[in-house]
Structures are given as C-alpha cells and as structure tokens.
C-alpha cells in the first residue's frame, strides 16, 4: 500500500496523453501555418500555455475520429508513425509533412510487476513540461518554414503494422514524398511508455 504513493501511468493513460498531444499539435500546426482563417480557432489553456483549437465542426469531427482510432492502435502497439501532410488544393502537391513517430518503451519494470500490467512512473508534471517545450517549438517554426501561399488542405496518414485491421471508413493510402525536402527534428517527449518524436519536413524553395 505504501507503494501507491508512487504515481503510475497505465498504457491506456499514456496513449491518451499521446493522443491529446497529437490533437493540440495538429491544431497548432493548422493555426500557426495559417491553413484556416484564425477566427475559426478558439484559445484554450493547456500545458500551462495558450493553444488554439479549431472550431470548425468538420475538422473537429475528423480529428476526433482519427485520434480515437489512433489511441486504440497505440494501446495495441499497431502504430509506428502518424504523418500530418499539408497539400496544395490546386495541384495536390505535398508541401509539408509533420511526422509524429511513436516509439514504445518499457516503463517502470518493478512497478509493472507489482501492478501486473505495464505501467510507467514518470511524473505527469514532467511530461507536460516536455510537451510544452515541443509545443513552443512548433509555434516557433513559422520563423523558418516557407510561406504557404495557396489554398491548402491537410490529411493525416497512419503508419500501422501489417497485421492491423482496416476499420470501416478507413483505406490504404499511397506514401507521399516531398521534392527537395528539408527536415527539422523538434524536441521529443516521453511518457516512459511512449516516446514521441516530432519531425517537420518542408519543401526547400530557393
């Protein structure tokens, strides 16, 4: 009982943290890169900073469906990467790609044995601080990313394992490539069960 003081993160909880991060990260990209009119976003306090979430019903719906399914997959370790791609509506060219790499970690072995399930023991505050640092970096990217001077849409591709079933309303996608791409790796954060790596690739224009 005395051990209960140590905080623990279950696999499910960790997947939730990851998906929450994805929600805010994707929304931040949509806002910061100016994909949608800023008035369609609403400010929200998260991780001790202000982040903006889209109010557009269709976008909200898309993200909710995507992330609930992704959470399921992350719990079952079926997903290795999610790619947010920004596409020029006119010619379908991929202009930018945000890769969110999910790595699975072992967590706290001792505690896991005790609890009889895989758990982590990382402090939630510490995790949130790490996420905040990533979010600040995401916001700062606009200082070097090229201006998206066209109507754009976005899509999210899920890199799943082969043994992963395709649920209803999901389909296989073609891999994308950016011509003359430049990659920038942002900070990573870890929940001690999942490690999240964020990489942005963009088309280098000279």
């Amino acid at each position: 009982m005395s051990q209960q003081v140590k905080n623990s993160i279950t696999l499910r909880g960790s997947a939730q943290i990851v998906c929450e991060y994805l929600k805010f990260a994707i929304n931040s990209v949509l806002f910061q890169r100016g994909l949608y009119p800023p008035e369609t976003f609403k400010a929200e306090q998260q991780y001790g900073i202000t982040l903006l979430l889209s109010e557009d019903a269709q976008i909200k719906n898309f993200l909710t469906n995507l992330l609930t399914q992704s959470e399921e997959w992350i719990v079952n370790k079926k997903v290795s990467k999610l790619s947010l791609i920004i596409v020029n509506v006119a010619n379908k060219e991929v202009l930018e790609c945000w890769d969110f790499n999910v790595q699975y970690e072992d967590g706290d072995a001792e505690l896991s044995k005790e609890m009889k399930e895989t758990v982590g023991s990382k402090d939630l505050k510490k995790i949130q601080q790490e996420i905040r640092d990533v979010m600040l970096q995401v916001a700062a990217t606009i200082s070097y990313l090229p201006f998206l001077d066209c109507r754009c849409s976005f899509d999210v591709l899920v890199h799943a394992k082969t043994n992963c079933d395709i649920p209803e309303k999901w389909a296989e996608a073609e891999p994308v490539a950016i011509a003359n791409a430049q990659n920038v790796q942002l900070k990573t954060f870890s929940t001690s069960l999942h490690k999240m790596e964020t990489v942005v690739s963009y088309k280098l224009v000279d």
């Binding site: 910061q32 890169r33 100016g34 994909l35 949608y36 009119p37 800023p38 400010a43 306090q45 001790g48 900073i49 202000t50 903006l52 557009d56 269709q58 976008i59 719906n61 898309f62 993200l63 469906n65 995507l66 399914q69 290795s80 990467k81 509506v89 601080q129 905040r132 640092d133 600040l136 916001a139 700062a140 606009i142 200082s143 201006f147 998206l148 001077d149 109507r151 754009c152 849409s153 976005f154 899509d155 999210v156 591709l157 899920v158 890199h159 799943a160 394992k161 082969t162 992963c164 395709i166 309303k169 999901w170 389909a171 296989e172 996608a173 073609e174 891999p175």
Partner: protein, 538 residues
C-alpha cells in the same frame, strides 16, 4: 608495375603452400634453369617482355616445357592465377601484341618507370598505387562483412516502412474556404499592410531627428541593450562594450569593455539622477558601475545563464537570465542575493518594476507573462506570482508599465504572436488586445500623451504610435532597415530613441509638447539635470 610488387610480395608471404619465390632457389629449379638456358636463349626477346622481377622463377620453371611462345598463357593457367590474371587484365596488350603490329612501336613498358608521367596519369608518383591496389583488392575480402552491415541497415530502413500499412481516414477534413488567403502573409511579405492611421491634431515628424551609428549592436531579440537615465545619459551596449552618450552635449564615453568573447546582454540605470549603471553580461553576472568615476563597484553572481534583463527598485536590482530565474540583488549588502525566484522555464527576456514598486512583471521565452508582488515591506518580490498570463503565443519581450495609471501594463509578443495586450494587474483583466501584424520588440509609454509606442520587426521595421486606451494607430514611423530591437524614452519625455539591427540609433521627436502648453516645472527640471550631467561627465 610497382604497385603489383607489393601485392605479390604480400600474397607470396601469405600463401605458405605456394611456390617459393624468395631465398635461394631450390635444387630442382636450379637444375632446370641450367637445362633451359640453351633452349630459351633463342627467344630471349620474348622473355624480356615479361616482368621478370616478380615472377622470374615461375617463368623459368615454365620454360622447362620448352614452349616459350605460349609462355604467358601457360603462366596464367598453371601458376598463381590471381597474380597473372591481374597482369593480364591490367597490363596493356601491347606487351604481347606490340611486337607483332609494331608499325609504331609502343614504348617498352619495362623501361617506363612508375614515376614517369604518361598521357593519362600525369604524375604517378603522387598516387600511391601500391596502397590503392591493395585497398581495391582487399575490398573483396571485406565485402561479406560490408554486405551484412548494409543489409542490416537496409533491413532496418525497410522495417520502418515495410511492415507498415499506410492508412487514412476517408472522411477528410475540408480545405480552407474558397478565397481564403493565408493571413501569415504579413509575416512573410514586404507588402504594406493597410492600416487605419488616425489623424491627430498634433504634428508628428515622420523622419528621425538624428541618426547615430551603433556598430556591432547584437541582433538578438532577447536582450535589453539601451537605457536612458534620468540625468539624460544614454547607455548603449555594443557587442562587448558599453558606451555612454550624453544626450545634451553629444559627448561619447566608453564605460567598459568585457574581455574575451563575453558580450553585454543588458544595461539598466538606477532610478533617479544617480549615475549607477547595472550591466548584465553573457558570463551570467551583474556588474555595478559608477559612471561618474568610470569605476566598477561590484560584481554580483547568482545566475547560470546570460543576464538578459534588468530592472531597478530603489536599491534592489532584479536580474532575469537565460536560466529562467530572477535574482533580486540588494546592492548595499555583502550577501547581495536577497531572493531568487524560479520564474520561467526559458529565458527571462524582459523585466520591469512598476513605477510604484508594488509589482514586478517578467516576460519569458516560454510565452508567459508573470506578475510578482513585492514582498511585505521589502523591495524585492515574493517567490509566488499573483498573475500568470499565458495569452501570448510567442516570447513576451515588450513590457511597459503605464506611468499615469497604477497597475496598467502593456505587453507585446514575438513573431508567432504579434499582439500588444493591455493588462490591469490589480484585477488580472486583459483590457485590450491589438494585432500589430509584426513582431513586437519593445514598448514605451509616453509621459505627455495618452499614447504608447511600439517597435516592430519584419516586414516594415517601423515604430507605431498607439492611442490609449482604444489602441488605434496614431502614426507610423518608418526608416529603419532592420528590426527595431529596443526603445528608450528621453527623461524629458519628448523623444523616443530606437535601436535597430541595422546598426543605427534613431531619435524620433514624436512626443513634442505644444509650445503654448509647455509645462514650466518639467522644463526647469530637465535643464537642471543637464547642468548636473555636464559637471558629472566631464
């Protein structure tokens, strides 16, 4: 040829069961040599064509057969195949054929020393053929190892993508509405943003009154490199040096130069007409200088990162640094660090005590603006903030307290934010917000008018005058060629000085008083301070 010698030697050394090529000839060889002298003598020409140095023995052995015409082919079949194959492949056919077709006899290969140049390789001596050849051949042996290594890497690379199924959700999110234009254009383009400049009755000169050179000013958004004292002395930090510019006489004095690669990161004058200047440096210390005597009074440590912001409250100087901490130094005491506040997770890029000394506001690179109350009966702050404003979406650099209304604070955010916000720290309310469409580097309130002026970066590098409290634009002052990093207000309140990354300081007389309304007391006070200054500086 020399390049093969090395390899041959190596090969022969390595193959223990091969024919001996070193040491005294074996008996049977000697015997056969003797026997063969006669038969081979008639074809000595042929013999001479063959590289004797390395394989003389094998050739001699071959000659036992007496069939000298097929010397080479036999060599290649019977003896140490690798060596001869090399020879066959690499050596020009001229050796065998040239005698036959020698209408233009090619130069004898043997005569050619490896050091001589030919048409194809100008200088053989420079290329280490021995080594190159060895390396080339050795590669074959390593190939298996290399293959497994590359195979592994390839496997790993494939494993990343290969077992993957790329999935997408078929109900797509909509594209941006038709006709929508990315608002970020203002951040990226030089195009002039139409602004609603409100006409005022006052005349505001559009050109700077004076332009001063500021060579080597550090182009860093997070620093605070200028301050204008109540006694009309402007302190400017240029790279590792602090200069004092006497605004009334125009004289310039060099206060200090830091050694090595250290740079000055912030300067701040003590309140009142005293001549003490606090200097924050990249070596994480705050230096206190007496500018009258040009003498350093003390060095105060307490930080682990560069000191990028400073603010005075009577005898306490508060310093904010890259480590995110604020340290309050009581300059009178030996143990100067009276309080350390863990204020931000990133660099503290602006720090301002309110004029009444009740609050200190700190802006950080973590996009936060914190308000700290002064400790009971003290001139340093409590370790717990009373307000934390997280509405800015970028580093909070511009910070200024309203001089006429207690508890009103203006703050401005960086490139990702571009807004100026007005706060009432007594209630914690955000009174007003305006999107400036450009990075806000600095804010200063006017003391004569209900206005404030902000300094901006890309695209226009301008100063904007705002009417308080509506925050409508009064005027825009353009002229700087790079972002305007810092602002300072003259002690008489009429002139704003802007320091820009284009290495100039410009003086704008944008708050000039109407001559008819000119207040006597301010004028005389300013005059008095000028007189004081002359005596002090000289």
């Amino acid at each position: 040829m020399a390049q093969f010698n090395y390899l041959n030697e190596l090969n022969t050394l390595a193959t223990i069961d091969g024919p001996l090529t070193r040491g005294p000839l074996q008996r049977w060889v000697k015997k056969s040599n003797n026997e063969n002298i006669n038969p081979s003598s008639n074809s000595s020409k042929n013999m001479s064509n063959i590289n004797v140095s390395a394989c003389s023995q094998s050739m001699q052995k071959l000659s036992v057969s007496g069939n000298i015409s097929c010397n080479n082919s036999l060599l290649s079949i019977n003896k140490t195949p690798t060596r001869n194959e090399n020879k066959k492949g690499k050596k020009t056919p001229s050796k065998n054929k040239s005698p036959g077709r020698s209408t233009t006899p090619t130069p004898n290969k043997l005569a050619k020393t490896p050091n001589k140049a030919d048409r194809f390789i100008p200088s053989r001596s420079n290329s280490n053929f021995d080594l190159c050849h060895y390396m080339l051949n050795r590669e074959e042996e390593d190939e298996i190892v290399a293959q497994t290594v590359t195979g592994e890497a390839l496997g790993r690379a494939l494993a990343d993508t290969e077992p993957g199924r790329l999935l997408q959700y078929t109900c797509k999110a909509p594209a941006a509405p038709e006709g929508y234009q990315n608002r970020l254009r203002v951040v990226y383009s030089q195009a002039k943003v139409p602004s609603t400049v409100k006409n005022t009755t006052r005349y505001i000169p559009q050109a700077p009154d004076r332009i001063l050179d500021a060579p080597e000013i550090v182009d860093d958004y997070y620093l605070n490199l200028i301050d204008w004292s109540a006694s009309n002395i402007l302190a400017v930090a240029l790279n590792n040096t602090v200069y004092l510019w006497n605004a009334s006489t125009g004289q310039i004095e060099q206060l200090l130069t830091l050694e090595g690669s250290e740079t000055v990161c912030s300067v701040a004058w003590v309140q009142g007409a005293s001549s003490h200047l606090a200097v924050g440096t990249s070596s994480a210390v705050v230096e206190l200088w007496d500018c009258e005597k040009i003498k350093r009074l003390r060095i105060m440590d307490g930080h682990t990162g560069r000191v990028s912001s400073l603010s005075w409250n009577l005898y306490v100087v508060s310093s904010g640094a890259r480590d995110g901490n604020i340290v309050h130094h009581d300059v009178r005491e030996r143990q100067h660090a009276v309080a350390t506040v863990n204020a931000h997770t990133h660099e503290v890029c602006s720090l301002k005590w309110s004029p009444d000394g009740k609050y200190i506001a700190s802006g950080g690179n973590d996009n936060l603006l914190n308000i700290w109350p002064a400790a009971q009966g003290q001139h340093y702050s409590q370790p717990q903030y009373i307000h934390q404003f997280s509405q800015h979406l970028a580093a909070v650099k511009g910070l200024a307290w309203c001089p006429w209304s207690a508890g009103i604070l203006a703050s401005g955010g960086g490139t990702a934010d571009r807004t100026i916000r007005i706060w009432n720290v007594n209630t914690g309310a955000n009174l007003n917000t305006v999107d400036t469409k450009s990075q806000v580097c600095s804010i200063v309130w006017s003391t004569h008018y209900k206005e404030l002026v902000s300094a901006h970066g890309y695209a226009q590098n301008q100063l904007v005058l705002w009417k308080y409290p509506m925050l409508s634009r009064v005027a825009e002052l353009c002229g700087h060629e790079a972002r305007v990093l810092h602002l300072a207000l003259s002690p008489d309140g009429t002139t704003v000085l802007s320091a820009s990354a284009d290495e100039t300081l410009r003086l704008w007389k944008c708050f000039m008083l109407d001559p008819s309304k000119k207040k006597e007391p301010t004028d005389s006070k300013a005059a008095k301070s000028l007189l004081n200054m002359n005596s002090i500086i000289r």
